[in-house]
Symmetry: C2
Subunit: 146 residues, 2 copies
DNA sequence: CAGGATCCCGCTAGATACTG
DNA sequence: CAGTATCTAGCGGGATCCTG
């Protein structure tokens, strides 16, 4: 074990993973993060639709399944479950079941998920802030070449 | 021009768009940004595979089509063209044609694209940095419930 | 060199119905 | 409430061939 530690440390520091390479695991991870619903789920669990104190303090929010289903408009139960499962598998969210009647299931970001949440929130905010610019550019482009 | 400036400023500041709503244009934009290739193209045009001086200084890099095709391993000509066209249409990149023989085409980030590039680079870096953690969590999850 | 056009397969993701 | 199961249409995206 000690034989690989030094090499691994260096690897971490240098980050020898490169998402530009098709075979690199980080490429696959980036593709998973570039999912239709992943970003929205992470943003929801991070605390509301616009910057909340919780999100900025680096806290997560515990949300019920049905709560997520409501907040993320348009997502089907199937896709929400599928997305949550993959995020749980990757260690980004935790799933807690409380045996009430009927059963209560809640989800929360892990520390790892929280570290990604910041970026996802920024991405969502970028879209909301610059959508007007983009739509303008789009119509200009279409008029000119269409 | 001056007539809409004030209103636009307020809209910008309040950001009345919400990507959690299925009908909101920002939702569609976020979905477009959550594309398999968009992030990588933006990162490539931002300047190299790991943090370069250019990227941090907020500069863009002019790249040829074939250059992009090489750097973003695994992308097909079709998808690269399709991605670049959509980014050009949305005002995130510019396309310049120089009439050499054979023709030379280069792409570059606009200011708008540059502002998004920062976040995309962060996302890519996150994947490269935390991929080991994720893979560990993944095998742990599979062993436990497989 | 930088694509455009076309074919076609596979998987995604929505709709619907059912359950512990 | 919190999912699961099944079916299917649609389209994303790769392969291949062609061009200014």
């Amino acid at each position: 074990m000690a034989t690989t530690t030094a090499a691994q440390r260096r690897a971490q520091a240098k980050s020898e993973f490169d998402a530009f390479l098709a075979v690199c695991p980080s490429r696959q991870l980036l593709e998973r993060l570039s999912d239709k619903w992943v970003g929205l789920v992470l943003c929801a669990l991070g605390g509301g639709s616009f910057p909340s104190r919780a999100g900025e303090r680096g806290e997560s929010r515990s949300m019920r399944y049905s709560e997520l289903l409501r907040q993320i408009a348009g997502v089907s139960p199937k896709m929400l479950t599928q997305t949550l499962r993959s995020l749980e598998r990757d260690g980004l969210v935790t799933r807690s079941v409380v045996a009430t009647v009927p059963v209560t299931v809640s989800y929360e970001l892990t520390d790892l998920g929280l570290s990604l949440h910041v970026t996802m929130r920024t991405l969502k905010a970028w879209a909301e802030t610059h959508v007007t610019d983009v739509l303008e550019r789009r119509t200009a482009y279409d008029e000119q070449s269409g």
